[in-house]
């Protein structure tokens, strides 16, 4: 295997508390990601989003980030200059967030926003940028790209908004995409379409994908590998197709507590949290 795109070794992130101490959010996470699709799954507060943001150095200044190694494509993220980081963020690494309603600028047309993203990382004039935006909208399979180009975010549906976000992230031709709960604000049917789109684009362009979500089965369907996080640590990492053979009781618990259409149950099993899961792994 060639050198991985992302190398994380013993990442620790702490947030300051009001009383002057530190609250650990990520406690020693190690993972490597090549040009593949890695899912990070866990409940809210498990540190999955913080891990993704640490890689882009997008955490608030007050946060304490330490790692033995935090490298993206040869760049040491912890010690890189702000200038280098600006090239990474939105350039080499694209970030897709949960709700397009909040991540798109409400007072700019869709075309202007995509053009802006394109011009920030490419050389070219306004007209070229607009052409590029149109092309990108076609790539994310928007039916009437010319009309969408001149609309405002409130005029498009949630699914379309997310396609626009993806188009914007693809503008600088990134090497990696971090998708943080990209479909949680969407319907089941739109969810599947968006994930399929991300999947196709990532495969076609040979990008790396980090898909962060709380929905285990969903992630397993679209990723090659799944890392399950709990309380700031990775509980287990396993190939997605072996998910049903997961051994860790936490993973089993997450799988079990979902209602299933094919199976009738009077009560849903509730996750019992073993204090042992909190112990620091070596």
């Amino acid at each position: 295997m060639t050198k991985p795109l992302v190398e994380i070794q013993n990442l620790r992130v702490d947030f300051p508390t009001a009383s002057g101490g530190y609250n650990p959010a990520v406690r020693g996470v190690s993972m490597a990601l090549g040009r593949e699709k890695l899912g990070i799954v866990g409940e809210s507060g498990s540190g999955k989003s913080v891990t993704g943001r640490a890689l882009m150095r997008l955490l608030p200044e007050a946060a304490r980030v330490r790692a033995d190694k935090l490298v993206f494509d040869g760049v040491d993220v912890l010690n890189a200059s702000e200038r280098t980081m600006r090239g990474l963020r939105g350039g080499r690494i694209g970030l897709i967030l949960q709700d397009p309603k909040y991540s798109l600028n409400p007072v700019m047309t869709v075309g202007a926003q995509i053009s802006e993203a394109w011009r920030a990382h490419n050389k070219g004039g306004k007209r070229e940028a607009r052409e590029a935006a149109l092309n990108l909208l076609e790539q994310v399979r928007i039916r009437d790209p010319r009309r969408v180009l001149d609309s405002y975010p409130h005029e498009v549906s949630g699914g379309m908004g997310q396609r626009i976000m993806i188009a914007m992230m693809l503008a600088p031709d990134p090497a990696m995409l971090i998708a943080d709960e990209p479909t949680s604000a969407l319907d089941a049917s739109v969810q599947a379409e968006i994930l399929k789109l991300i999947d196709d684009l990532v495969s076609a362009r040979g990008m790396g994908l980090m898909l962060i979500s709380h929905d285990l089965p969903l992630v397993a369907r679209f990723c090659d590998r799944v890392a399950v996080m709990y309380a700031g640590q990775v509980m287990e990492t396993l190939p997605a197709q072996d998910l049903h053979r997961a051994e860790h009781p936490y993973t089993r618990g997450l799988l079990d507590c979902m209602p299933h259409l094919s199976q009738k149950r009077a009560r849903l099993p509730v996750l019992t949290r073993d204090p042992k899961w909190l112990e620091q792994h070596s």
């Binding site: 409940e43 089941a188 049917s189 507590c257 209602p259 259409l261 849903l268 996750l271």
Partner: protein
């Protein structure tokens, strides 16, 4: 069949020139939990909001407990019918403590014994006593949704309208809230309508459900038909197939 608790007949809703709900009719028996499923924009939440009295531009027939509903509802109606919304972040007042949030319905409806009722309501939704004087931002998402449920139940309603009550929650918390809802409706003999786009959630709580598309009910199914995939409408079959696919 016993007398229906909730009835909708030829319900139509217009928002300006937009005709968003077309001739929707269904009835829900007392003690039953009825599901409304569909994609966003199918009109399922709008139907629920008409029953709750939050949408005014409807015509047709709506009745709760045999009484026809007008466009203006009296106070007794708002005690009998309560609603739980999707996002507990948005539906609780950020600058009111849980105690204040729970006292409000009691004050509005002139219900005495606030002290004991609030303690009991917190117990019923399995919130610790310490939660009583916290603000919503000091609670987790699941705890917040429990507060929203406690607020809905504290006025002792007979009808509970649930609009995507678990879609903003983690799956582990979703399981707890679904169990809680199942227990409460049993203990209090509640009649519920559950709106959701998640078929598995609806199948878990509802014995009967309506599938909506483009503002119309395309089909009414029983839970068993849903689970067995016995459907006569293409849209329902698509939704069921998708749900099975996502379950893996």
């Amino acid at each position: 069949m016993t007398k229906p608790m909730i009835e909708a007949g030829k319900l139509n809703v217009h928002f300006g020139d937009n005709h968003v709900v077309h001739d929707v009719s269904f009835s829900v028996a007392a003690g039953e939990t009825f599901g409304l499923v569909g994609e966003s924009g199918s009109g399922k939440s709008t139907v629920l909001r008409c029953i709750a009295g939050l949408v005014d531009s409807w015509d047709g027939v709506l009745a709760v407990d045999g009484q026809q509903l007008g466009h203006k509802r009296d106070k007794a109606f708002f005690q009998r019918v309560q609603m739980v919304f999707q996002d507990p972040y948005g539906s609780l007042h950020p600058r009111q403590t849980v105690d204040r949030i729970l006292s409000e319905p009691l004050a509005v409806h002139g219900i005495p014994d606030a002290e004991t009722r609030i303690t009991k309501a917190l117990e019923e939704v399995a919130l610790p006593r310490t939660a009583r004087f916290r603000y919503p931002h000091q609670l987790s998402g699941g705890q917040r949704q429990r507060v929203a449920i406690a607020r809905a139940l504290i006025a002792n309603p007979s009808v509970l309208l649930l609009d995507e009550p678990t879609s903003a929650l983690d799956v582990s918390v979703q399981a707890e809230v679904l169990n809680l809802l199942a227990d409460l409706r049993q203990a209090r003999q509640l009649t519920c309508i559950l709106v959701s786009h998640n078929l598995a959630v609806v199948g878990h709580l509802c014995r009967r459900l309506a599938v909506m598309q483009g503002g119309r009910i395309v089909e009414i199914l029983t839970e068993d038909q849903l689970r067995a995939g016995q459907s006569n409408h293409a849209h329902t079959r698509d939704l069921i197939a998708l749900s099975h696919e996502l379950e893996g």
